[in-house]
């Protein structure tokens, strides 16, 4: 085991311009928001983002001009409505949006995690989403060689970097996630590089007392960054809940053409508790 503990700025160096990137969590739960803000501060360009149901992480990066392409099952702010920057830049043509569906995106991650070029799924047949995917080359109709059943082969999705926010880790990169996992463990196994921001560092001795709690072991982790409140304003189970007021404030800023002001204050100005 080697120590992979590093700083936010150093870890963000693992994300190159144009990289295929995915983030842990889902909508407003355990999303690595502080790392996302660091990507904005570092002025990353042309990122290619993929996830099943992202929200503010994608929208913030899109609004800050860091993103060229998005592939997702849904990009929205749940009951608060549309993701404002995602919508605006998809409609203006500044952003290439290739909608997927949750299952093929998850299956793509699973294929990569299993070291397979593709994985078959059911469903999808008859949807225009399948037609688009066949044009892009991410999904294709196939016949099962044994039963002849028609299925959809989904091409593996191997992100250049997966960034995950977890509750605990040791300095070697043994990761403990508490509460729902979402696809974080799968994403970590699928990606070429894995960065994990954590609420709290714990000792290797502590890790060894409960190995079953380590869902991502050190040999697939490239960087660990101690980042308390690293998911804020999203939630981190057992640590803090979603700050819905902050999310409303973000949407208000975007709606009133004050998004630059939001970036100045909360991203560049780091005015986050």
């Amino acid at each position: 085991m080697k120590k992979v503990l590093t700083g936010l700025q150093e870890a963000s160096g693992l994300v190159e311009d144009g990289a295929l990137v995915t983030f842990g969590g889902a909508t407003f739960s355990r999303v690595p928001m502080e790392f996302v803000r660091e990507l904005v501060r570092q002025g990353k360009k042309d990122l290619n983002l993929v996830d099943r149901e992202p929200a503010m992480d994608f929208d913030l990066l899109i609004g800050a001009g860091c993103v060229a392409k998005v592939r997702a099952g849904m990009v929205a702010f749940e009951v608060f409505g549309m993701a404002p920057n995602f919508r605006k830049k998809s409609e203006s043509g500044e952003l290439v949006t290739k909608e997927g569906a949750c299952q093929p995106i998850i299956a793509g991650f699973r294929a990569a995690a299993m070291g397979l070029p593709s994985l078959p799924v059911k469903g999808m047949l008859g949807s225009d989403l399948l037609t688009i995917s066949e044009v892009i080359g991410s999904q294709k109709e196939i016949q099962d060689p044994f039963t002849g059943e028609t299925m959809i082969a989904v091409r593996a999705i191997e992100p250049d970097v997966a960034i995950i926010h977890a509750q605990k880790a040791d300095e070697f990169g043994n990761i403990r996630i508490e509460g729902p996992f979402y696809e974080d463990v799968i994403k970590a196994k699928a990606a070429k590089k894995v960065v994990v921001t954590v609420e709290e560092l714990i000792s290797n001795t502590e890790i060894r007392k409960m190995p079953q709690a380590t869902t991502i072991p050190h040999f697939i982790v490239d960087a660990v960054v101690e980042t308390p409140k690293g998911a804020y304003p999203c939630s981190c189970f057992n640590y803090y809940d979603v700050d819905y007021d902050h999310i409303k404030q973000y949407l208000k800023a975007a709606a009133k053409d004050q998004f630059e002001h939001y970036l100045d204050k909360f991203v560049y100005g780091r005015e986050i508790e």
């Binding site: 739960s29 409609e91 949006t97 189970f237």
Partner: protein, 253 residues
């Protein structure tokens, strides 16, 4: 009186009634109405259903809902975590009995659109995306589509983009499952030989005429069309208990 029943409560009651005891049901993202419907079903006629939350909790003791349908507090006292990829595995096995899905447009054949209005490469309106719709619609035994604002712009003859597959975009073997559409005005299904949308129920205080006026095509009327029953007061009370802040109304504004 009938007209005193809140539209969201009426829809939640109707959605809950689509769940049978022992069904396995999953809810997705942006889903206050499905969460409330699943909670009502479990506390009334379907106590033995398996409830899988979008944030992975199995049979949680839900005390209230939150603006995010993935809020981890929705998993309180769950018996297990069951990941979305596992729930999707279950769906592929045909063992996810009921799924609730949304729609920005729905058409005569049951197709739904949650993707785009206009050209997909340069959309006039970028919609949020269909999430699990294209995967689950053809393979889930019962799909319930909820629409909070029925109008002729939402109920169209043909959707701009087929996100979720209606019966005219399916092979014969995938036509067997059931699509039910629950709107603010009534309940539509496709229980006829041609698998075309028909009015099955109108909600109390509404009518067949009103549904027809708010549909962008000549909608069929089931021979046994009738008024949907009014939810019992204890059901309304239960909904208010779980959603004291009225989060369920956010989709109706």
């Amino acid at each position: 009186m009938n007209d005193k029943i809140d539209t969201p409560d009426m829809m939640i009651y109707a959605m809950a009634s689509e769940i049978e005891n022992f069904d396995t049901v999953l809810h997705g993202v942006s889903s206050p109405l499905p969460i409330l419907a699943m909670s009502v079903a479990r506390k009334t006629h379907a106590p033995d259903m398996a409830y899988i939350s979008g944030s992975e909790g199995v049979d949680p003791e839900l005390d209230r809902i939150y603006p995010s349908s993935f809020d981890a507090r929705l998993n309180r006292n769950a018996v297990a975590y069951f990941g979305l990829h596992e729930a999707f595995d279950l769906a592929q096995r045909g063992e996810l009995n009921v799924m609730f899905l949304g729609a920005a447009q729905v058409d005569l054949y049951g197709n739904t659109n949650l993707s785009v209005i206009g050209d997909v490469n340069r959309p006039k309106v970028q919609l949020p995306g269909g999430a699990a719709s294209a995967f689950l619609m053809p393979i889930t035994p019962k799909v319930v589509i909820w629409v909070t604002r029925q109008s002729s712009r939402v109920f169209v003859e043909e959707v701009d983009f087929v996100t979720g597959q209606g019966y005219n975009h399916r092979t014969d073997e995938l036509k067997k499952n059931e699509i039910v559409i629950i709107s603010n005005l009534g309940i539509m299904n496709f229980k006829n030989p041609d698998r075309l949308m028909q009015i099955q129920y109108y909600h109390p205080g509404h009518s067949v005429d009103e549904i027809q006026e708010n549909t962008g095509f000549d909608i069929l009327v089931a021979p046994d069309v009738s008024e949907y029953p009014v939810p019992r007061p204890d059901i309304i009370k239960l909904i208010n208990q779980i959603d004291p802040d009225g989060i369920r109304r956010s989709e109706f504004r």
